[in-house]
Each structure stands twice: as C-alpha cells, then as structure tokens.
Amino acid sequence: MNVAVLQFPGSNCDQDVVHVVRNVLGHSARLLWHKQPSLGAVDTVVVPGGFAYGDYLRTGAIARFSPVMEAVQAFAANGGLVLGICNGFQILCEAGLLPGALIRNRSLQFHCEHIFLKTATADSPFTNRIPPDKLMRLPIAHGEGCYFADEATLARLKANNQILWRYVDAQGEATEAANPNGSLDSIAGICNEARNVAGLMPHPERASEAILGCADGRLVFESMIHAVTSKLEAKAA
C-alpha cells in the first residue's frame, strides 16, 4: 500500500500515521504538503489529526480549500481510499466528502481519554479485518467531536449501512455514559455511500503497537491494506 499523508499548517498526527504505515506495517507512506495540487502515485490518502489552520472559523473550514483537497476530491470520485482521522474527519465533512458535521462536545470539554469502539459493519475497506465482536480500545483527543446530521441524512446513513463505528462501554453497549461527546446515535465514524471515504474521531494511529498500551488501531490500517492489495490482485488476474 502506498499512502499519502496530508500535511496542513497545524496538522500534528501526520508523523504518527507515517510511522505506523512504514515502521509497524512495512508499507510505504509519504507526507504531502497541502499546497501540492496533485497526489502523485498513491492508492490511499490519510487526512491526519491536528488543528489545521488553528481550527479558525470552524474545524476544517479553511483546510478544505487547500489546493491538495481538489486532488483528494478527484481521487475519491475515482474510487480511491480516503481516511480522515479526528481533524481529518472534520475536514472531510467540511469538504462534503462525508455527510454531516462535527460540533462542540456536549460537555464543552476537550476529551483526552481511551474509549471503546464497536465496529458496526465489516463491509467496508476500513473495517474488513475487524472481527465482528471485537471492541477496539482507542484514544480520543478532541473538543469538537459531536457528530451531527439532520434526520434525513441519519436515516440514509442507517439505510446504506454507512455507520462504521460507535462509542460503547466495556460490555459493548452504546450507552449515553459511554458517549464521550454527545454524538448522534453514538456515532464515532462513518463512510460515504460509495464506501471509499471514511472518517472517525478516535486515533487508530496512536494505538497500533503493544508498547503504546494497545494495538487495536492496526486493524483499521490492516483492513485498508487488505482492500488495496485484493483490488490490485483482482486487476492483475
């Protein structure tokens, strides 16, 4: 897998993604400055976490107009895999690549903690390697992670099986107490209708090695690797 990791002024999880892809998973990754008008030869784009443009105006509002985002739009329209993590999820929503928006946490507090995540479907390039009953323990670190969409959009997300991850408690139940930010329907991550663009608030790249206390995040990247390699194999056959 060949990953382009976008870098905006204010991105701060970009190096973590590159480290996981290169050093933990043994695939290739390179950083791509937001002023670049093209992606080059890549088969996956990761929009990393951080505070692009200082979150001025709204999270992701200014970053979505960076030149590289036009290339990402075209790449996504062609079926390319795009994953947005935390601020990257906010940017993809602002860009209209994913439906809905992320607003201030219900508590108004910045939440920096580990949560449990339940994968709602294995039917996506981002979840195909995650066992159905697996609860992933991942860190979150955000002030604006409350997922919102209007009723019609939420109904469409459910009807098309686009909700990928929900916040749950240690027993796997999506309770109010286990919802760290007030997200609608405990939504932590979604994909688009074509299933090639996804975003989530938790940080899989910060939990992909045992030495960091948890390696569950690897499953997300391994799913993407599986999706990309099986697509390439199908092409070659």
Binding site: D55, N105, R106
Partner: protein, 110 residues
C-alpha cells in the same frame, strides 16, 4: 498613532470576529461593510448557549427561556455596488463562512 481615513490597518483576526480591509470605526464613503450573523440551527445542540443560559439564571436573570451562541463577522468591501456585494457575501456565507449543515446566517450591507 491615530489611524486616518484610507489607512489600511491589519487588525488581528480572531475566531468569531473576522475583519478584512480598512478599519477606521466608520465605513468609508467608497466602501461598504457587511455585518454577518451566524447562529447554530434550531435542531443543533448548543451546549455553549445552554451553559450561558444557566449562568444567567444563576446570577439572577430570570425569565430567560433560551440562549444561542453564534458568531458575528464584519467584512469591509471596496466599491459601492451593493447588489454585487450582496451576491458575493451570500455566496461566501454559503461556501465558507457558515456550514449549512449546522448553521444559519443572515447579513446586512451598509
């Protein structure tokens, strides 16, 4: 030094108060000012508004049924073409200044 008419001052822009172009307290005769108000949509949770509401109640302001916290932007525009300015600001509000998924906006040009 007091700014005089026509000077361009770089005003520090902050979240919630974006100021572009000349700032002299009054609008210059060959320029216009758009005053934009952005508010969270009715259906959107506004925890900031709720917190302000309970703070108001806490210090004795009774009879307040709801508080919504939004943003106010002042945008200085060159020229006097109000219709053109209206169109441009409306487009900018829709495209970047507000997010139609979660916010409503309204503005006036003076």
């Amino acid at each position: 030094m007091r700014p005089s008419v026509g000077d361009r001052i770089n005003w520090p822009s902050r979240q919630g108060c974006l100021t572009i172009g000349p700032v002299c307290g009054t609008t210059l005769f060959n320029s216009m000012k758009a005053k934009i108000i952005i508010t969270p949509k009715k259906a959107v949770l506004d925890p900031q508004g709720k917190t302000v509401q309970s703070a108001l109640a806490h210090i004795g302001y009774t009879g307040i049924s709801d508080v919504r916290v939004g943003k106010y932007l002042e945008v200085e525009l060159d020229g006097t073409d109000r219709e053109g300015a209206r169109k441009a600001i409306d487009e900018a509000c829709h495209k970047i200044l507000s997010n139609p998924v979660i916010e409503d906006y309204r503005f006036e040009i003076e």
